[in-house]
Amino acid sequence: MIDINSILQIEPYSIGKEEKHKILSSILTELTQHHIENCDSYRKILKSFSLDINKITNYYQIPFIPVRLFKSYDLLSINKSDIINTMRSSGTSSQIPSKIFIDRETSSHQQKALVKIVSSFIGSKRFPMLILDAPPSIFRDRNSFSAREAGVLGFSIFAYNKIYALNEDMSLNIKEINEFLENHRDEDILLFGFTYIIWKYIYPEFTKYKIDLSKAILFHGGGWKKLENESVSSEEFKNKLFECCGIKRIHNYYGMIEQTGSIYIECEKGNLHSPLYSDIIIRRPIDFSVADVGEEGIIEVVSILPKSYPGHVLLTEDRGMLLGEDDCPCGRLGKYFKVMGRLQNSEIRGCSDAYHQ
């Protein structure tokens, strides 16, 4: 088996189309074989597609698992005793969260990939970090992470000193923020948070105080969730935050709990980039054929990290568009793309419930 660790040493945006295709094809077919051997459910699904795994030479041919399946089924390719933590998507009360089972090896790969990707943007030194969220409850289960907690934990690796901007009741902890900023007056500061949390709880509060974050670098992701109707463009988000507290360096990122680690970060030109360790394929809904550059479709995500669960090739419920490959003006190699949001829920007709609609 190819040593993932050796791939994770390679700079994430340094490999061109053809070589990347070869690397991903060989690792992802091996992973497919691995999950067939170690996950009954995955094997059953692939079997029903009547597909000869030995004939797969290209990762575009590997059947994708719909992300929703991780909500209804426990899909894992390891013994339960090897699980070191379970990550859950931030399902609201009406939604069932996805459950992703992580062992030591996959966890280590996730961390390495994240470090490699983020440090290619900010370098490898550590920063004082202001987390634009509330601290996790002290009563939380230490072996189970929500998407928000996992994100915070992942980025904390770049911090030597960190505080949370919000209190547990989601109010702004202005006193501590001011102290923190005073102590780190001359340093670059790392900011991290979830897009909708920042927009709903942080931004309105920040406008009330004079907070200078002109030396900060912000990473945010996670989409708009329930605030879909309040959704603002990435451009507007940047402008507003710049106006209120002078943040110049803002990077959105696209990622999901089902493929933690191999995230897609927005470059200085405003494009999301796929690192060497993962890729996106835009599919046409009608027949799942590959869409052209500039054509909107459903986003498929592949990642070399998921080994403890069969999540290496997934069909998301997000809409996206490929903008190009290897030729973003920022200079990074790999595909670059944009995400337009979630697929709209079906409005299907029929004799369904009169009451609950």
């Binding site: 029903s48 929703r68 069909l315 697929l343 299907i348 004799c351 609609q357």
Partner: protein
């Protein structure tokens, strides 16, 4: 709030009611806007005099009957036209009707309501105002409580959750519910006939394809009458041939007429994966694209209705003898649509196997036709009472 205190029950198929419905039909068919909606037009044709007189004939020999009194209709939120059929059933049976229409906005509902209001202004029909009350409210329990306590019959057009929710509002001891629950519908095709018959124009495979398309896609395969399981009957070779013709004709029609939403495709694809996880002995039929998805079942699990999807997602199964239907049908099964069988043949079959389910057996293309007998209820008789007079 409701002006129903002075009105009395009527005899079924009351002349003024019949006249009113005929006028309503004419008014709708002359209305440009109404005519844009095929479901409204179908409704208008159904309630014109000639059609209703035919139905009246079937009840001719009945003894003295009167409407039960006040009927409370709770219409479903996703089939806009349904409220109108429910109302007409209540009227024809001789009742005062309170129809709760969905709080969702439907153009069809507004158009028909307007026609009704206009017609009621007519002096001749003025008295019927008490018999027709169409209301809208946001499911507040107090309102449901109030009307439930007032009515003699409550008709709840499902699903199951709605029925359970509405039943929390008590009825008067003598009153009762007519409930239309979540159902499962199937289609039975005689491949020997489909392949070999000299077709009349009405029965050509293309015509059958169009009929089947209407049964399935007009409501995104989500009406209780929409077939989800296709049973093939006949010799093996014919079934293979029939399948090829049937699905390729359907594909062309769907491609031409039906726009499937991307999230529906995700629903279907996810369901596909779930079937491979949960069901044994299945094979997925490879199709040209995601418009039509098909799964072959060697055996039919008891809970196959839990695996149903919408927007073009079919299970297929071959039966060797018609008696096998007994092992398939359960209480959930509602409509069986068919091709290549005689009515008498299917009547005899039902009596022979006497299943718990299946309330309607109709040719392909007729699954959506409303009938005054629905889910096994004769609505006229259910919504009226018989007065026995002994000499």
């Amino acid at each position: 709030m409701l002006t129903i205190n002075n009105a009395k029950p009527l005899i079924p198929f009351n002349d003024s009611v019949m006249e009113f419905l005929n006028e309503l039909s004419l008014m709708i068919l002359q209305n440009k806007e109404c005519k844009e909606y095929s479901d409204i037009v179908t409704f208008a044709f159904w309630c014109r005099k000639a059609s209703l007189t035919g139905i009246k004939e079937q009840y001719k020999n009945d003894k003295i009957r009167l409407g039960r009194g006040i009927v409370f209709h709770i219409a479903p939120s996703n089939v806009p036209i349904n409220f109108a059929y429910s109302l007409v059933a209540g009227l024809l049976a001789g009742n005062l009707n309170i129809v709760k229409v969905s709080s969702k906005e439907f153009k069809q509902v507004d158009l028909i309501r307007n026609c009704i209001s206009k017609l009621l202004e007519n002096e001749q029909f003025n008295f019927l105002s008490d018999y027709i009350n169409i209301i809208k409210y946001a499911n507040e329990k107090e309102t449901t409580d109030y009307i439930s306590n007032l009515c003699d019959v409550r008709i709840i057009w499902g699903g199951d959750n709605t029925i359970n929710e509405i039943r929390k509002s008590l009825l008067k001891p003598k009153a009762f519910d007519v409930t239309f629950t979540d159902r499962y519908s199937i289609c039975l095709i005689n491949a020997d006939k489909y392949i070999n018959e000299e077709y009349s124009d009405l029965e050509s495979p293309i015509r059958i394809g169009k009929y089947f398309y209407n049964d399935v896609y007009l409501f995104d395969q989500n009406a209780c009458t929409s077939p989800h399981l296709i049973l093939w009957y006949g010799n093996k070779e014919n079934i293979e041939k029939a399948k090829n013709t049937f699905w390729s004709i359907l594909y062309d029609i769907v491609k031409d007429k039906y726009e499937i939403q991307p999230s529906s495709i995700i629903d279907k694809y996810t369901a596909f994966c779930e079937c491979s996880l949960k069901l044994s002995d299945i094979t997925i039929e490879s199709t040209l694209d995601n418009r039509i998805m098909r799964i072959n079942l060697k055996t039919i699990p008891e809970d196959i209705d839990n695996f149903k999807q919408h927007s073009g997602y079919f299970f297929e199964h071959t039966i060797n003898k018609l008696d096998d239907l007994l092992n398939i049908i359960n209480r959930k099964y509602q409509t069986l649509s068919y091709y290549g069988f005689k009515k008498e043949q299917l009547e005899i079959l039902m009596l022979k196997i006497s299943p718990f389910g299946i309330d309607r057996i109709v040719p392909i293309g007729k699954t959506l036709d409303f009938s005054l007998t629905w889910d096994g209820y004769d609505l006229i008789n259910t919504l009226s009472r018989r007065i026995e007079v002994v000499s």
